[in-house]
């Protein structure tokens, strides 16, 4: 174990960028995982399209909204779940000797946030192509979507670390552990996205957006504090 008083030669930021680059390189090398995720989003959207086309095209706005968030939620859980689980215990031990646990959690959160933002934007694009576009305030909707992607990433990263420790049926456990923590965030996100769909005045959504930001920061800070304890095992 490394004594804590001794200053580390490498600054935290360098460690984070190196880890982030490693994650992107890994993702690029195993394209099957990324492709699987995109296919997952695409096929869910297509199934929604098929089931609504039975009733003659576009779903009503509340259903449109609810389905979009359900799709994104499950895509997020699938995307984040593989983060810690694809690493073997030996690999984890190797990282432990090299970098600070804080760098690992921050890099992972950042990586997941970028990944989920990309998935969310692509999902929205496919969704509007297949199921129509009832959004009246597009900038607010997209901003809310990105904030949601970041929120999913911050919440689910620590949860995926916890689920990876438990081993076994990781994705199920992650859904069970993650859902209750995400419900408050989801309620706010769905409310703001409904406001954007209906084109309400932006002042209506201010308070919710601020709460969402504060919630993201709270969850991020909690993960930062708690992750070293998880890592120590």
């Amino acid at each position: 174990m490394r004594p804590e008083t001794e200053p580390l030669p490498v600054p935290l930021l360098r460690e984070i960028t190196t880890l982030l680059a490693k994650d992107f390189r890994l993702e690029w090398r195993q394209k099957s995982a990324l492709g699987g995720l995109l296919l997952y989003v695409g096929s869910t959207v297509f199934v929604c399209f098929l089931s609504f086309s039975l009733r003659g095209g576009q779903p009503p706005a509340p259903a449109w909204n609810a389905l979009l968030w359900v799709i994104l939620l499950f895509a997020a859980i699938n995307a984040v779940a593989k983060g810690f689980m694809q690493e073997s215990p030996g690999q984890r031990l190797y990282y432990y000797t090299l970098v600070r646990p804080q760098a690992i959690i921050l890099a992972k959160m950042l990586y997941n946030a970028l990944l989920l933002m990309a998935v969310a934007l692509l999902g929205l694009f496919l969704y509007t192509v297949f199921l129509g576009n009832p959004i009246q305030d597009a900038p607010l909707f997209v901003a809310n979507l990105l904030l949601g992607a970041v929120g999913f990433a911050t919440t689910l990263t620590l949860v995926s670390g916890i689920a990876a420790k438990a081993g076994g049926n990781g994705a199920t456990l992650m859904a069970v552990l993650g859902f209750p923590v995400m419900v408050p965030m989801l309620l706010l996100l769905i409310k703001v996205s409904k406001n954007a769909l209906d084109g309400l005045d932006r002042s209506v959504s201010h308070q919710s957006l601020l709460t969402l930001l504060a919630l993201n920061m709270l969850v991020g800070a909690l993960s930062y504090v708690l992750f070293p304890y998880l890592w120590r095992g």
Partner: protein, 251 residues
């Protein structure tokens, strides 16, 4: 009005901190603790009887169901208190791991689940007779459901480990994370997510507006204390049992 509110929240904070500190002393107490247990019995039995018998202000729709104040609300208060105790044990565990602290955190959380279930049941019964449905999509009710889901997930998580130390550490982390990320929001969200029918929420009067001569208040606070003491007692008994069990497993 505002200064009274500030004094009220400061008093609430002091009460909570004292409750968590004192609760840990009571749960870990080794002696029989006859005095506080006697007080608990007195407050619970006397409080429940008085809650059914005293005069309450006659109100339309609510009628006699306002007496649920002496049952439902203290259950939630004691649940929050005992869950705070559980989180504090988890924090202590992470600082200084021991099997004892893990058992205490687990048993406190289990007590919290029991009280939460009781709170849901009494609330649901009340809602059936005043709102006309067992469950409504009310922000407050959603919050209560989320709180129960968290602790259900906590139990599932505990069940999925084979290694005791690993289980203790990871479940302590989840306990702290889920509690700190969600429970404060349960108090903020109902204010944000629009109208709620729950008494004491967004323009709905709580009991204090009707309680003109303070009789309900005089009964309400002792009953709250009684239920909180009961929660600690329950935790003490179940954790003593768990200690004995783990000792037996060692031999």
């Amino acid at each position: 009005m505002t200064s009274a509110k500030i004094i009220g929240s400061v008093l609430g904070l002091v009460f909570t901190v004292a409750g968590v500190w004192g609760g840990q002393r009571l749960i870990e107490q080794r002696g029989p603790g006859l005095f506080w247990k006697g007080l608990t019995v007195l407050l619970l039995v006397g409080g429940s009887a008085a809650g059914l018998l005293i005069n309450v202000p006659p109100l339309p729709i609510v009628n006699e169901s306002i007496r649920n104040l002496f049952f439902h609300v203290p259950m939630w208060f004691s649940m929050i208190m005992v869950l705070l105790v559980s989180v504090w044990y988890s924090i202590q565990y992470l600082r200084n791991p021991s099997a004892r602290l893990d058992i205490l955190a687990h048993e406190s959380a289990k007590t919290g689940i029991v009280l939460g279930m009781l709170g849901l049941a009494t609330g649901s019964l009340w809602a059936k007779f005043t709102w006309g449905a067992w469950w409504t999509p009310d922000p407050r009710l959603n919050g209560a459901a989320v709180a129960m889901l968290i602790y259900g997930a906590y139990l599932v998580l505990r069940g999925s480990f084979r290694d005791d130390q690993q289980r203790a550490r990871v479940s302590a982390i989840y306990n702290i994370f889920a509690f700190a990320a969600v429970i404060p929001l349960l108090f903020i969200l109902p204010r944000l997510s629009g109208p709620s029918l729950h008494p004491g929420q967004t323009g709905n009067p709580g009991f204090s507006q009707y309680d003109l001569d303070d009789t309900m208040r005089k009964l309400f606070y002792p009953v709250v204390i009684g239920w909180i003491l009961f929660a600690f007692w329950l935790t003490q008994v179940s954790s003593r049992f768990a200690f004995l069990q783990s000792k037996q497993d060692e031999n």
